[in-house]
């Protein structure tokens, strides 16, 4: 115990920050792919796919991410499936993010104006073609601001990886605190780093939202 915050500590925090960034990318990539599948299932013509994906979303959205992480790390280990902290955290974040992004994107696909679906059908496009060439390109524009906004949630949620011992930004701070015991100073620095990571993305999402409003108006058919 004792000592002062020095360059090595900051370097360690820097490494933690890189892992926070890395985890966010994993969560966005994995959760994005899974979430896209969930969104497609949610608007599927098959009733059973809609019900199953809806149940999945309700179930995951009713659980805290922390418990999902405990389940993936300690729970699986207890029944003999050893997973590394990175694998457990990556899988938990993917599952968690997929439920939220899937629901956000379902709303975006649904909010493409109805006549667009009908017009595409009238042009004798197959369902896959309709999705790929007419609906999704428009849905992507609607989906951009909320998705960027959700990225802030993802970055913040990676802090929970610290509880299963994964050394990202928060855990790095805890480890440094264990040797220096200056919790208020260290957690203030950590909070500041998260803020610096998240604030620009929040602003971007906000800007896109305002611009998107105008773009969507031009999309509405006469």
């Amino acid at each position: 115990m004792g000592g002062h915050l020095n360059g090595n500590h900051l370097l360690f925090l820097g490494q933690g920050m890189l892992w926070t960034f890395g985890l966010s990318v994993i969560a966005l990539g994995g959760g994005g792919i899974a979430g896209f599948i969930v969104a497609l299932c949610r608007v599927s013509p098959s009733r059973w796919l809609r019900i199953a994906s809806g149940a999945y979303v309700q179930l995951i959205q009713g659980m805290p991410l922390l418990v999902i992480m405990f389940l993936a790390y300690f729970g699986l280990a207890a029944i003999g499936v050893q997973v590394s902290p990175l694998a457990a955290v990556g899988a938990s974040l993917t599952v968690y993010v997929s439920a939220y992004l899937g629901e956000i994107w379902r709303g975006c696909i649904r909010s493409v104006p109805r006549p667009q679906w009908e017009a595409a059908e009238g042009l004798a496009l197959s369902r896959a073609q309709r999705m790929r060439m007419v609906i999704l390109p428009q849905a992507v524009r609607i989906a951009t601001p909320p998705t960027v906004g959700f990225m802030v949630q993802i970055i913040k949620n990676t802090s929970l990886a610290s509880v299963v011992g994964f050394v990202e930004l928060t855990r790095a701070g805890q480890i440094i605190n264990n040797s220096l015991f200056e919790p208020f100073l260290i957690y203030s620095i950590i909070a500041l780093v998260y803020f610096v990571l998240c604030f620009p993305i929040s602003r971007l999402s906000h800007r896109l939202e305002r611009r998107g409003g105008a773009a969507r108006e031009t999309l509405t058919p006469a």
């Binding site: 009713g62 659980m63 418990v67 405990f70 207890a78 701070g173 909070a191 803020f195």
Partner: protein
């Protein structure tokens, strides 16, 4: 590989789980109530003509919304300790959750305020309602009715997020689970059951908010339509 599940060994601890669930709901209730009040004050503050009041409210909202709850909890926990104040883990957890949800509520309520047509406020002024009456009847209640669905999902998310307070050993549901799994060596069964318990708690909260909405917004009850 042979996997054997033993749910009964975990289920027989149900009184502890129930105690944890009650504490989780208590935390959620306190945070919803005081966070809601704080959020309403924050949203009014952001509309203030006094620039510094509006700025302080904006800084509060942005600072909370762009940092993780876990770090906020640590800051409150160690911050209070460093100025020599000793509180129970439960009080610290409740305080951190109130501060956190207050910022989100401020942002949601602000959207509700923005959705109130200026003409309505002018009409109320024309009818010589006092400032307080205008805020209550013309701005706050209708705004709350408009954003009620967003508010309630935020509060349910808050209940789920309260699991994080287990990290400062508030004895809520997740902390109970951590204790029971270390005692029974049945981590998988414990966390499955706790995850399902949270699903049930969020359903209970949603049903409660639906009922409350019917109670406090008579328009919704009589016409079945939101504003």
């Amino acid at each position: 590989m042979h996997i054997e599940f033993d749910f009964p060994a975990v289920l027989e601890r149900w009184p502890s789980f129930l105690g944890g669930a009650v504490l989780t709901l208590e935390l959620a209730f306190i945070a919803t109530l005081f966070g809601g009040i704080l959020g309403a004050i924050g949203a009014i503050g952001r509309r203030s003509r006094n620039r510094s009041v509006a700025n302080i409210c904006t800084i509060y909202v942005e600072a909370i919304r762009n940092t993780p709850l876990l770090v906020q909890i640590f800051l409150v926990y160690f911050g209070l300790a460093s100025i020599g104040l000793k509180f129970s883990a439960f009080s610290v957890a409740a305080l951190a959750l109130v501060i956190n949800v207050g910022a989100y509520t401020t942002e949601i309520m602000r959207a509700g305020f923005d959705a109130i047509p200026q003409g309505q406020i002018e009409a109320a002024e024309g009818l010589a309602l006092s400032r307080l009456q205008i805020y209550w009847h013309v701005i706050l209640l209708p705004a709350m009715e408009k954003v009620y669905p967003s508010l309630t999902s935020q509060f349910v998310l808050l209940m789920l997020a309260s699991s994080v307070t287990s990290q400062i050993s508030a004895e809520e549901l997740t902390a109970v689970a951590n204790y029971i799994q270390s005692d029974t060596y049945r981590a998988f069964e414990t966390y499955i059951l706790v995850a399902l318990a949270y699903v049930v708690l969020s359903l209970i909260m949603r049903a409660g908010f639906w009922g409350l909405g019917m109670l406090i917004f008579p328009r919704q009850r009589r016409l079945g339509t939101p504003l």
